[in-house]
């Protein structure tokens, strides 16, 4: 039993992992065919993951409604929103426009999904401004450097800021766009590159640990 539950999955991961890794570097017909096959399988698995996620979401909100937990009324909108998009999509075969006419799916997209999604994101702007006022405290040298960089970037992103910069610091003969270019090309890139290298090394190490069976958490407890 242990052989089936433990050793076989580890062997599959090892073989598939090594083949996929090797096929990235070997431009051969067999490796290309192999990658194509794996991609198709991945798409099929993704489709099942979508379905699983949907079932899980519905089940979780069904329980909230059934138990009448706090805010259960909002859970009803999960079903309303789902039906408002999926029913028109099924009716129109997923097409938002037919012969120059907006279908019911196109209408739902424009006037329900579009509006709700944009509103959710727009509300964020209000919280960001409020948080900037309440929480952005310059209490250390690092915070001061961060503030100066943010100040210049925010100012330089709009014409009014550029005008203010020119009228106050025009005598330096250095435009705010030049300062922004420097911030973006030197300190920002240095920081980002360090993060990227760190993430890449971490990802390589974790992948190798999974391929060679050192990391086995994905197999569950049994």
């Amino acid at each position: 039993m242990k052989f089936i539950k433990k050793h076989i999955p580890l062997l599959i991961v090892l073989v598939v992992g090594v083949l996929t890794l090797a096929s990235y570097y070997v431009p051969n017909k067999y490796s290309v065919d192999y990658l194509e096959l794996m991609n198709k399988w991945e798409n099929i698995v993704s489709a099942f993951a979508f379905l699983l996620g949907l079932i899980s979401l519905f089940y979780s909100h069904y329980n909230k409604i059934k138990r009448k937990t706090d805010g259960w009324g909002y859970s009803l909108f999960v079903y309303v929103g789902f039906l408002a998009m999926v029913v028109p999509a099924l009716m129109n075969g997923g097409r938002q426009m037919v012969d120059g006419q907006v279908t019911s799916l196109g209408w739902s997209f424009r006037y329900i999904y579009n509006a709700l999604s944009a509103t959710m994101f727009a509300v964020l702007a209000f919280y960001i401004v409020s948080t900037a006022y309440r929480s952005f405290r310059i209490k250390s040298a690092q915070a001061f450097v961060l503030f100066v960089a943010a100040f210049i970037l925010i100012l330089g992103k709009v014409p009014l800021g550029q005008i203010i910069w020119d009228s106050v610091l025009g005598w330096t003969h250095t435009g705010i766009d030049q300062v922004i270019e420097w911030i973006m090309s030197v300190p920002a890139v240095a920081g980002k590159r360090g993060i990227m290298i760190g993430i890449a090394i971490g990802a390589v190490v974790t992948s190798l640990k999974i391929i060679f069976g050192i990391e086995r958490q994905y197999m569950g407890r049994d």
Binding site: N39, S117, I138
Partner: protein
């Protein structure tokens, strides 16, 4: 005095919300009309790269954003597609974000007619696909292995716009406009591996993260945020939503700076006086 100042920190946040709403609405009602005086290097590079392509070149647009980032990214996409149409380039559009499909539809409702472009002959729109990295890899060996039909159900291979296009080798460049990390995938899985020039368009907040790719030439150019959209619009000489949108941002940006400065000055006064 100290207690009075401390009250400013406990101000009801709804006042700040109201203030922001006012500074956003005022320029919409009465535009400031300030000219955008500078063009950033990365936007200029993006423009130049597309501009130097010979007429008839095939450009793949990957438009991966949903309505939440629409104000910044839709003007970028419109400006870049306008540029491609002006240059008589062949355009194909793909997306890996389901919420993007309706926005793509809206772009192509009117834009092609302005340049006399015909669906299937000058441009093609392909349906949404899940699992972007798998699709990107698949397109390297056979585009039609994934996209056998266009959005309208026509055989993709037989479309005149797709003539001679099978893999990335047949594409002049990829333009990815996204509010996600999709641009990283295009660079890593396509640009680097198959030597396809990649140009990006991203939100202002994620723009600084792409500096390393720009320095190494992995990205040929980058349009950043609404300012980038306004810059590209001015390069294409077609002012649009980017140009008008940046007007509303003028006062909002200054408000954020003003609030941060105010709170920190109050903090200094409380601490040292």
């Amino acid at each position: 005095m100290k207690e009075k100042l401390e009250k400013f920190f406990k101000i009801d946040r709804r006042w700040i919300f109201l203030l922001l709403a006012v500074v956003l609405f005022v320029p919409i009602l009465k535009p400031l009309g300030l000219p955008n005086k500078t063009i950033s290097r990365d936007t200029q590079n993006a423009f130049n790269y597309l501009d130097k392509l010979p007429a008839g070149s095939f450009v793949l647009f990957s438009l991966d954003y949903d309505p939440s980032t629409r104000p910044e990214l839709q003007p970028q996409a419109i400006a870049a597609i306008r540029h491609a149409f002006k240059k008589n380039l062949r355009v194909a559009v793909v997306t890996y974000i389901a919420g993007s499909t309706g926005l793509i539809q809206q772009i192509f409702e009117k834009l092609p007619a302005e340049y006399g472009k015909v669906n299937g002959t000058d441009y093609a729109i392909f349906p949404y696909m899940a699992n972007a990295t798998a699709v990107m890899t698949q397109m390297a060996s056979d585009f039609y292995g994934i996209y056998d039909k266009d959005q309208d159900g026509r055989d993709a291979k037989s479309l005149p716009v797709m003539k001679g296009v099978k893999t990335y080798k047949d594409m002049a460049m990829v333009v990815n406009i996204t509010g996600t990390s999709m641009l990283d995938f295009w660079v890593a899985y396509v640009g680097d591996k198959y030597k396809v020039p990649v140009v990006g368009g991203v939100t202002a907040i994620s723009q600084p993260g792409y500096g390393p790719y720009l320095q190494t030439g992995q990205l040929k150019g980058l349009i950043g945020g609404m300012k980038g959209a306004a810059e590209y619009e001015s390069l294409v000489k077609e002012p649009g939503k980017g140009t008008s949108g940046i007007d509303a941002l003028n006062l909002a940006h200054l408000l954020v700076l003003g609030l941060i400065l105010t709170s920190n000055i109050i903090l200094l006064v409380i601490r040292y006086l």
